[in-house]
């Protein structure tokens, strides 16, 4: 039998909309921008320094939540791999006609391949749609946090936060 109860252990849409790190719908419509899903007052601030545009502010005390200046964010995605909480996602609603893209940190092997079709999952890890891998980036500056970008129908862009992990060769019979 598998466990029965899964209390949400991720922020709700409502909580995100109220958080200072989440972009407005208007800004999302304009093109690539990050959604910072970090809503607790934890002592952490690498995201602030990661952004060359100074679009993310934490300030003092260090337990402030990250604040996104959505007009300053140019959607370069540099901050995505720098957040130790893996809580920053790059959303592009203008990826192509009808499709959007979401970029997220993915620290699992094997990495997906560009062009591959994958199952995209929501914040609860449930597969909600299929998606195409657009990019897999892992330059040295990412500090070994690969960033995967997937494209999927637009309506899923605020839900997709990862992909089903490839099941690495499971041993048989121990």
């Amino acid at each position: 039998m598998s466990p029965a109860i899964n209390p949400p252990s991720y922020p709700s849409q409502q909580e995100l909309r109220n958080a200072p790190g989440y972009p407005s719908q208007k800004r999302l419509e304009k093109g690539p921008v990050v959604a910072i899903e970090c809503i607790e007052e934890i002592p952490c601030n690498p995201c602030e320094q990661a952004c060359p545009q100074h679009a993310i502010t934490i300030g003092e005390p260090i337990t402030n939540c990250p604040h996104l200046d959505e007009d300053k964010c140019i959607g370069c995605g540099l901050c995505v791999s720098q957040c130790p909480g893996l809580a920053i996602f790059l959303i592009d609603l203008t990826h192509s006609q009808g499709s959007a893209s979401v970029a997220f940190p993915h620290e699992y092997l094997p990495l997906p391949k560009e062009g591959q079709t994958v199952r995209a999952v929501n914040r609860a890890g449930e597969p909600i749609c299929s998606a195409t891998v657009v990019r897999v980036q892992n330059p040295k500056t990412n500090g070994q946090t690969p960033v995967v970008t997937v494209a999927m129908p637009r309506k899923y862009a605020t839900e997709v936060r990862g992909i089903l992990r490839a099941q690495g060769g499971k041993k048989n019979g121990g």
Partner: protein, 383 residues
């Protein structure tokens, strides 16, 4: 008998920074650690750290360990690994060294397979204890079966020795350690069946919980482990719901097929050596348990013995780095050479510690620390 100005026990972030401050001020400084590699907890932390930029947040723990060790070695600190301090009396540390290398800097060497122990006595003018924390145990039916282990042990197995302890894992405890180790077990190829947590709330940071959840792992709050069973090792676990008074809700039991059960129910300060040395302890549940009483200079009730890091309250690497520095500066200053900048440096460290101990997750630690230091100011030797 070796004689040194400053002896530090523990080469974690607290011990190494304390030693760096001592050596920078021209004092002969030695660090002893029972592990084969310096860095303390950091050597198994393959995740990017939290905290502030000054504390190298965003850098993986293991890399912080390497940088600190390099910094210590360049400052002239002598680090002796595989050296367990088993007693302290009259400012003398009794050490058993497990390798056969001589006193100079001993690095873990592949060749050193025929380990031999040798005693070493070190007389030190000042001592900093930075022995870190140890994992709390949890007893339940079947808890002695092979396959039940501390989350820290599992983390050491996967990240240091590259051995996956099992394929289907139950994690008990949803604090940061339980959440991070679950994530790392998945990265290592294990399947985490569930994370359970007896309180109604997830104790760790939401961002850590979120990454576990989007990997499809359930986090069951108000759940406890009832039993583990199996022929010769863990084959299954029974978990159940608990109510507000911590009683098991009848009929809520469910059986999980798992081969490994990891316990992550908190750490307590590893105060055995401090206690042996005669340091007075005080019980602070919010900081992990029995803690050596110390004043604002990190000096204990035994004159000349200082403490820092998880030993002086289970916190984080960022606070351990700062406290270690503080203990190192104060221990060195008490040896006679207070430097012009020391006062300002101490004030700056205190300011940063205050910042780290703010917010809903950490403010209680500031309050507890303040109370502890209040007791310390009355009981510890005056400057």
């Amino acid at each position: 008998m070796r004689e040194v100005d400053l002896a530090v026990v523990g080469a974690g972030p607290a011990g190494l920074t304390a030693a760096i401050e001592g050596a920078k001020r021209g004092y002969s400084t030695v660090v002893l650690d029972m592990n084969p590699r310096p860095g303390g907890q950091l050597i198994k932390q393959i995740h990017k750290f939290f905290g502030s930029r000054e504390h190298r947040a965003g850098t993986r723990g293991i890399e912080i360990a390497d940088t600190l060790f390099y910094e210590a070695a360049s400052a002239g600190v002598e680090v002796i690994v595989e050296a367990e301090v088993y007693a302290i009396h009259d400012s003398t540390l009794e050490v058993v060294v497990q390798t056969f290398a001589e006193d100079s800097l001993i690095l873990p060497s592949e060749e050193a397979t025929t380990s031999r122990s040798r005693p070493l006595s070190i007389a030190a003018r000042r001592i900093v204890l930075a022995t870190g924390g140890a994992e709390n145990a949890l007893s339940f039916a079947g808890w002695t079966l092979p396959g039940v282990m501390g989350a820290g042990a599992a983390q050491t197995m996967i990240n240091l020795w590259r051995v996956l302890p099992g394929e289907r894992i139950l994690m008990v405890g949803a604090g940061n350690v339980g959440l991070i180790v679950s994530y790392q077990l998945m990265q290592a190829g294990g399947e985490v069946v569930a994370v359970i947590e007896a309180t109604p709330r997830i104790g760790g940071y939401g961002v850590h919980a979120a990454k576990i959840r989007r990997a499809g792992i359930p986090i069951l709050t108000s759940h406890t482990i009832v039993s583990a069973s199996g022929e010769s090792r863990v084959e299954r676990a029974v978990i159940a719901k608990v109510d507000a008074s911590w009683e098991i809700v009848p009929g809520s039991e469910q059986e999980l097929e798992v081969d490994t059960i990891c316990i992550a129910v908190g750490l307590y300060p590893n105060a055995r050596l401090a206690s042996l040395a005669g340091c007075e302890l005080h019980y602070f549940p919010g900081l992990g348990g029995w803690i050596p009483v110390h004043n604002s200079r990190m000096e204990t009730t035994v004159s000349g013995i200082y403490v820092a890091g998880d030993l002086s309250g289970v916190e984080e690497a960022s606070t351990a780095l700062e406290e270690g520095r503080l203990a190192g500066i104060c221990a060195a200053a008490s040896l006679g050479k207070e430097r012009a900048g020391d006062h300002d440096e101490i004030k700056a460290i205190e300011g940063r510690l205050l910042g780290l101990r703010s917010g809903p997750f950490c403010q209680h630690r500031q309050d507890a620390k303040q109370e502890l230091i209040g007791i310390g100011e009355a009981q510890c030797p005056q400057q």
